[in-house]
Structures are given as structure tokens and as C-alpha cells.
Symmetry: C2
Subunit: 459 residues, 2 copies
């Protein structure tokens, strides 16, 4: 199967597949050939090609041959590793590779499995965030009583990923107690420690109970980096759980020249990065580390008779079922292990650097065209930009850029997404697909220029 | 790779793998050959072989070639289908195959995607239960105010899966408000409608607010079937959300002769079965249907700018991100589609019937040996039995059966698990691995007999 353009799928209308497939499952078996032919003729035309070199939307979700082989092994062995006993190798390999990755990221020793902490693979950053929010919620409620749930306050910024809001909804944190501090362009959209400190003081004075902060290294809209060290000092002073979400940008921190973005991580209670984003490990593989695994276990464990066994009862083993929302879990460490071994650290670092270099090249191209504006500083491989018409009416500018996004996406040649920063509609161009090369960046830029010329002429 | 015995893993001691692997990821890439060799020599010895024909523990977790091919396709295409736009084919195929499966199970039309309901693939039954509990919680709290959380009461039986307790912990339902009604041997461990009705009346009289019932078709300990029709009438009268968990036994209900176990399903608000248990679809693939998808969406949706798109804003499409805990999701419908098409309905029915027939044969063997007792009626493919010594001291009997489980499992020839019913320690023998044949059942029984003889002689 060739990966061609990014967005054939845009030619699919809602309900297209219903018209192509029968109403019920076949009574008799069909041939593999027939099924594969339908994959080609009916399924693939409705696929948005995340692995295409021309995919620049959202954040990347890397697949690789190493990751694919890991998925094959995992699907072939096909175990369910909820407790150590249900496949010792699955639990142990996961502990080992997350220690390896923690060392690559130079995480503090507190996050390693040999102490009271450790790492676990979650499905997504949303689940990682939810489980630590639950651990933090229950830790404080054990102290102050469960009826105080309505007083608990969670902090983030207006750039924090929406999974924080979702985790709060699930955990029953009252929506009016989620403080998303306003960020500013002049501050590169990072969370301001002053604003956080003020909010906390104000909430305490109002009789509320601050208990959780989610900071971000590499926000979704503009890859802003919150100042971990300063934020961590505030959370420590106020006994607030400090979670760091580096879902996308964590991967870059395996390179010494980007590691400083994690300065202050020693203050955090938990840390997350998605190996399935920019680390060549097929979705899903979200790495979560925590300093005190007992807080997680206290929130999430159950101990029914039918799962009891000597190893668990003897407390000699990790049972990952108590670190996550589901009971069952796949043997996902295999694919991360294969990625780390088949690439090696140096190649993984080069992989990251190459994408950042390509993003820089794209940024240079944008900067050379006076019709465009770079809207936020590029820190990693995301370029935020927009067409800036002579007529500087913001409403018009927003419409123009929406039209530009529609124009390039509906060409079927590339696929990008957008955001809004300080009221401005902005195009996001993220370099991160494994197959993207310089020629793709250059062609994409040409497409933007042509579509812009055409839009400006017709406006 | 051959699947041999079920439980090589039992020879692995905690920490075995740490001793065999290096402390850090390699700087330079290694060869695939080297990695695969380590899979064989270091990983596989620590694997509990769920796919072995001699695996009879917990419930099965079927892998199949069809499911494996589906996983390969999914890993190869490697998209993330959180919104329709991010791969229309992924959302649409999921809607279609869940409609197919709903029709196979003769679920009421309310669960089909053409109305206000529909199906979605969750990772596990735990997640399916959690999302509907959240939908039910938020539906009632929207009416009575969120401060009433502490008054909400959830019902199940002492045989309900522990995921109900876990879902309550996560959702913030107070632990003392989880009513697990006691079941009785004389009632085949099914939830009694009378006991449920009494509990609800008592709670209402105490000023509490009943809002959720989880009934089970095929409980974990003994595959008991709760009487859906009678329970459903009670929940309807009391405006309680009625969820039916058929994680294991749902698969059997595609056979007309077992479909009656779902009688009353028309009263349910939501229904779940795990295609990854006994339906040849590699883990994970848990099918959830709901009558009113808006309740789910109201609980779980977020709508950040960076995910907005015309299709979603136009409300013309399903965005499955709002039906589940995580944001990202794999293209899991592919494997269920391949299983349904490559087997066909008749073969899937034969597959189920064959396992039930084998379980029946095993049950007959047990019944013919007067040293043993069948402890619960066999309804599907689980046989619950125990060695019943002449000396009828229960404590002694329990120890003897614990020793018997240890003896057969540590032989490495089979792998089983246990439960406790009415204070009795009981061996669970579930037939459900795709490769299990009559000869395996016969050999397993011989192993039980020999181990029992040896235990009884030495006692």
C-alpha cells in the first residue's frame, strides 16, 4: 500500500461507506482477497493519511517498521498483561524500557522503578493525565474528607490541552474550579508563575482547596513551554500535585540541546510523553512516570478473589492493572523496545533534529514572503503562521486564513490544521511524519503561496 | 513461534528480566536478528501463553489470523481516528460493523446507529462501564445539582465484575453507596429482583438517589445470568440507568439457542460485550452500544479550537472522541470486520458451540469422578468444580483445592484460575482458546486426577 497524498479522505462525504458495504455480516466466509480488495477500493479512499510525508496537521502520530514489528509481535503473542502473573515478561519489559527512556530524558531517579516510583505505558496522554488527577484527588480527599470534592481546584493555562478539562469532568471536579490562567503573546503563551501564585492565594482566601497543576512542555497550539522550575516551587509550597504534560515535545528532550526545556522536572510528581507522537512507536504508547506509585494504586486498585495470586499477595511484583483505568492491557512495551533497539539513541536524536531543521527551513520560507506573518516563536517542529493582508481587519484576516486552510487541504496535496491565538486564526504546520523530506516542505510552501495568490486576487 | 504449554511463565521469578537485559538503551542500532533472538530466549520464557490450547484461566482472550491481519492493517495504515475528519473510514467502518454485530445479537433497533443510539469500540469492558456510569451520573446531576453526588447509589451483585467498583471510585460515587446485593447458590448466583427492589426502596426512604444498575450476563466467577427482564422493569420504574455487561457470554448469544439469555435487553440503556474475549478478535476490542448517545457526548465531549472542523461543527458526523475516555483511538473496527468476513456467521456460531461442547465433556469427566464436585451449573464454557475430600471440613477443602491449583499450574502443562463462591475455594476451567481440542481437555482432566491422587495420598 502506498502512502500518497495526505487527504484523499476530504473527498469522502459523511455516510459514504454505508453506501458501499452490505447491511449485515456474511453468513459464509469470504476470501481474504475479496476483503483486501475492499480495503483498497472502499476503506483507503476514506483514510486521512497520517503517515504521508505531506501530513502536517495536529501533531504527528509516527508509525515505523520497528513499531510495526513490535505491534505484530504483540498481536502474535496476544497476552493480556493486567497482573504480573498473567505474563511476567510484559510487566517486566515495560518497567525496563520505561527506565531506559527515563534515563534518556535525564528524569530524576525518583521516577525510576527501583524506588517508590516508576513508569507505565498508558494508551494516551488523556489517560495519563486522568489517572494522576485521580491519584491527587484521592490523596487530598483522604485527608480532608470526600465531601470536600466541591472545594478542590485544578490549575492550568488557556493553552493546556483539553484533556485536562475532560479529566476534571470525569473526576467530578466542579467546572467552575478549573482555573485556566490566561497566557499572553508577549510571554510566548507560557503559564505565568505570578498569575498562578495569585490565583492560588485567591482561592485559598475563598476557602477553596488548590490540589493539582498541569504544566505543559510544548502546548498544542504553539508548543509553548511552561516554566517548570518556577511553577514547581509554587506547587511544592502549596502541596499541590504537579503534573508535566510533554506529550509532543518530550521526544525532543532526548537531545541534549533541548533537554533544558525539562529543567525543573525534579519538582514534578508525574511526567508524561507520547512515544506514539514523535518517537516512531506506533499508536498507542503514552509513557507516564510517577514519583509515588502508591498514590496511583490507592486510587485505582481493586482486589477481587478471582484475580488473587501468590505473586500479587506477596507484594513482590507490579500489577499494572492498578496503574490505569482499564483492567486488560496489551504488550505495548515490545514496540517501544524494538524502536529503541532497532534505531539506537543516536539515530533517534538525528530523527528529531532533522524534523526541527525542516521546520526551520519552512519558517525561513514563510519569513521571506512579506504577505505572511510568523505568529509564535518556533521552539520545536511546529510553525504557526498566517496570511496577513494589507487590509488589517482581524475578522477579514481570520476568514482569509480559514479559506487558505480549506484551499490547501481540499487540494488533497497536504493536510494541516489550525488554532486560534489571541483571537487570531492561525495555520499550524507541524513537521513530524517519518517520510517528510525537504522537497515536501518546499512543495507545501509553494502550494501555500499559490493558494494565497489566488485567494488575494479573488478577494 | 510455537504456542506450547500455557505457563512457562510460572518458572520466572519476579525481576528475572532485569537480570537479562542491559541498563540502558543502545546508542547504536542493533540488528533485527539480535532482537528477535532475545524475544525467543528472554521474553518468551516469561510469557503466560493465553493462546495455548492448554490455557483455561480467567476468561479467554482470543487471537486469530483474521484478527491479526486486522491488527497489521491497522498498524500499517496507522491513523488516529478521534474525529470523523481524521479518518472518515475509521469512524464509518466502526459504525457499520457494530450495527452488523448488534443485528447478529438481535439487539433492539434503539442500539443501532441510524437512530439516537449506536455502538462504539472501547478498549475494555471496564472502560465501557465507566463511560456509561459517567453518562448516567451526569444525566442525574444535571437534574438535581452536582452537590448531590454523595447521595447517588449504584447497584450490582456480589458477582458483578470489580470494574464496577473501580468505575465508582473514578466517578466519585461514595464507596458506601455501592450496593452489591448478596447472591445465593440456590439462585445460581444471579441478582434477585426482589433484593434489588428492596434495596432501592430502602435507599429512597433514606433520602438517597438510586441511579445506576449493572447487571451481568455471564459473571466472572460462575457465568451466572442476571434476570434482565425483571431487573429492567425495576430500573424503568425508578428511572435508573440499566447497563448490561455481557463481556464474556455476549459472544454465545449470536447462537439462537443462547440468545434467550439476553431477553429483557430491550429494557437496557447500554450493553457491552468483548469481541476480544471469545469472538476471535485480538485484544483490544470491546463493543459498547447505547440507546442515547447524547448522554455520553454530554459527559465526555470537549471542543477545543484546534480540533474544530466543518464536518464536526455541522453536526453531520460522529466524533468518537466524545464517546470515550481517551482522545486518540486506533482503527480497531478493521479487525472485527475481518473476523466477521473471514469467518462468516455460521463458522462463528460453530466456534462457540464447539467450546461449549468441550466444556460439557469436561464437566462429564468431573462428574464421573466421585472425589469431585461440580459447584455451579455450567451455562456456557466455564466449569466450576472442586475436589471434595471425605473429611468435609471446609477449611481443609479450601486448602486442598488451593494446593491442587498450584500443582496443576506449576506443572507448566495447563493454566487455570480460581474463585470463591459461598466461602468455597473453587477451580475455574474455561474452554475458549481457539486451539483447544478434545484431546487437550482429556489430558487436562488426567492431570487433575493425577495431581489429586497425589495430594490425597500425601495428606
Amino acid at each position: 500500500m502506498h502512502v500518497r497524498a495526505a487527504s484523499y479522505a476530504l473527498n469522502s462525504l459523511p455516510g459514504y461507506l454505508q453506501k458501499l458495504l452490505p447491511d449485515s455480516a456474511p453468513v459464509q466466509p469470504e476470501s481474504l482477497q475479496a476483503v483486501l480488495q475492499e480495503v483498497e477500493t472502499k476503506i483507503l479512499p476514506g483514510v486521512t493519511h497520517w503517515q504521508s510525508p505531506n501530513y502536517y496537521a495536529y501533531f504527528p502520530s509516527n508509525g515505523s517498521i520497528a513499531g510495526f514489528l513490535g505491534e505484530m509481535l504483540s498481536a502474535g503473542i496476544s497476552i493480556v498483561g493486567f497482573s504480573w502473573i498473567t505474563s511476567p515478561a510484559a510487566t517486566e519489559l515495560e518497567m525496563i524500557v520505561l527506565d531506559w527512556l527515563a534515563n534518556l530524558l535525564k528524569l530524576p531517579n525518583d521516577f525510576l522503578s527501583k524506588g517508590p516510583g516508576g513508569g507505565a505505558i498508558q494508551g494516551t496522554a488523556s489517560e495519563a493525565l486522568l489517572v494522576v488527577l485521580l491519584a491527587a484527588r484521592d490523596r487530598i480527599l483522604r485527608e480532608i474528607g470526600k465531601d470536600a470534592l466541591g472545594k478542590l481546584v485544578v490549575y492550568g493555562s488557556d493553552q493546556t490541552h483539553s484533556s485536562l478539562q475532560k479529566a476534571c469532568q470525569i473526576a467530578g471536579v466542579h467546572p467552575e474550579n478549573l482555573r485556566l490562567q490566561r497566557t499572553e503573546s508577549c510571554n510566548e503563551y507560557a503559564l505565568s508563575p505570578e498569575s498562578l501564585g495569585d490565583a492560588i492565594s485567591h482561592d485559598i482566601a475563598s476557602g477553596l482547596i488548590p490540589f493539582f497543576l498541569c504544566a505543559t512542555v510544548g502546548t498544542t497550539s504553539s508548543t509553548a513551554v511552561d516554566p517548570l522550575l518556577a511553577l514547581g516551587k509554587i506547587t511544592k509550597r502549596n502541596q499541590i500535585w504537579f503534573h508535566v504534560d510533554a506529550a509532543y515535545a518530550g521526544s525532543a528532550c532526548i537531545c541534549p540541546e533541548y533537554r533544558h526545556h525539562l529543567n525543573g522536572i525534579e519538582e514534578a510528581d508525574s511526567f508524561n510523553m507520547n512515544c506514539h507522537k514523535w518517537f516512531l512507536t506506533n499508536f498507542d504508547c503514552s509513557a507516564l512516570w510517577i514519583k509515588d506509585r502508591n498514590t496511583l494504586i490507592q486510587s485505582l486498585s481493586t482486589n477481587p478473589e478471582y484475580l488473587k495470586n501468590k505473586a500479587s499477595q506477596g507484594r513482590k511484583v507490579i500489577d499494572y492493572k492498578d496503574w490505569q483505568i482499564p483492567l486488560g492491557r496489551r504488550f505495548r512495551s515490545l514496540k517501544l523496545w524494538m524502536v529503541l533497539r532497532l534505531y539506537g539513541v543516536e539515530n533517534l536524536q538525528s530523527y528529531i533534529r532533522n524534523h526541527i531543521k525542516l521546520a526551520q527551513q519552512f519558517e525561513d520560507l514563510v519569513a521571506q514572503d512579506i504577505r505572511f506573518e510568523i505568529v509564535a516563536t518556533r521552539t520545536f517542529s511546529l510553525v504557526c503562521f498566517r496570511l496577513l493582508p494589507a487590509n488589517k481587519n482581524e475578522e477579514y484576516a481570520n476568514k482569509l486564513n480559514r479559506d487558505l486552510l480549506d484551499a490547501v487541504n481540499s487540494s488533497g496535496q497536504i493536510f494541516i490544521s489550525h488554532t486560534v491565538l489571541s483571537g487570531k486564526y492561525i495555520l499550524r504546520f507541524v513537521v513530524g511524519a517519518p517520510l517528510t523530506e525537504e522537497r515536501h516542505i518546499v512543495a507545501a510552501w509553494k502550494l501555500f503561496q499559490e493558494a494565497s495568490s489566488s485567494l488575494l486576487e479573488n478577494s
